[in-house]
Symmetry: C3
Subunit: 142 residues, 3 copies
């Protein structure tokens, strides 16, 4: 069994932007010609999320509204208050939303492809864009 | 070190149904006689969840109520609205609840058994049953 | 490729206590001289959480308040009711908060170090302290 490291970047245009990155992850994995194994996919950031769900436009909007409701943008956060933080982006809500959704996934590899169900996509959720984001992919397999 | 793939199916009887699948995962892992390694356990679906916590009847009910409170079944979701979605199951809440709880876990293997604490169980949460569900298990180890 | 197992313990002093354990995880990983691979970090408990985010004092307070708001300590939980549970700690909220935040992370290893972004820390959140906690680390790599 071998281990491989790679990464790719994403440029986001909006403050909140949810995209399907399944193809980007598949391409990153398949360059290594691994038949069986696992892929670990991580963002290197703290204000965006990475998870698996169905990628359907209406559902993506529902998810956006859910995190807006659970973690409102203006919530009187200390991280947004210059008395307690030197972060000037006002992005406490982005950190907190990312904490709820997760920033890492592991997916199996079988027959040289990602093991995903019919409705499963790998989804990247920008919560504090526009930004340039880096996603790392570790592949372990043979 | 070697990598092994297997899977098992679950049949759920209720709309929401939380079950302890630790034994199913342990049996799936132990057929490979791996002494040390990791097991990656994934559902192939987007409206059920997989996580580790204590499996105790009252707590399971508390968890069910929590996700019902955070993500009510009737929330005016677009994914449930025929103008925006051709999904006829009315299951936006199932997707959103699954997104909060996660659908994948990784567990260590040591001395040929899963590395779980005294109160830890691997828990499967059906959020859109009754259905037949598939759970995949990747084992990496030696 | 090889697989290694280790663990470390944490002692927490407060009921809720969030700490940066990046250095503890890095030290645990680096004893194995693995150049490339992954590290799987798990708590063996069900009332604490483990995740990756920015470790900044004000943000940590915001996160504490968020989980207190989403999962209040006194929520009429069945797990805290002697009619339904023999757990006498009154810690249903701790279990439920842990379920929202997660109790396991996987991090890449490259050039002999953890693959973490500039603002990423590995964060341990005690939700039911003071307690002695065990964190396991599995390293797969070469």
């Amino acid at each position: 069994m071998k281990v491989y490291n790679t990464s790719f970047t994403l440029s986001t245009d909006e403050r909140t932007e949810i995209s399907d990155i399944t193809k980007l992850v598949r391409d990153a994995v398949q360059q290594f010609a691994v038949t069986t194994g696992i892929a670990l996919v991580n963002t290197l950031h703290t204000t965006c999320a990475l998870f698996v769900n169905e990628y359907q436009a209406a559902l993506v909007e529902d998810l956006t509204r859910l995190v807006e409701r659970l973690v409102p943008e203006r919530g009187g956060y200390r991280h947004d208050d210059p008395r307690y933080s030197d972060c000037e982006r006002g992005n406490a809500h982005s950190h907190l939303r990312a904490a709820l959704l997760g920033r890492s996934i592991a997916v199996g590899i079988n027959d040289g492809d990602l093991v995903l169900g019919r409705f499963q996509s790998i989804i990247f959720a920008e919560m504090d864009g526009p930004r340039k984001r880096e996603v790392t992919v570790q592949v372990l397999g043979e």
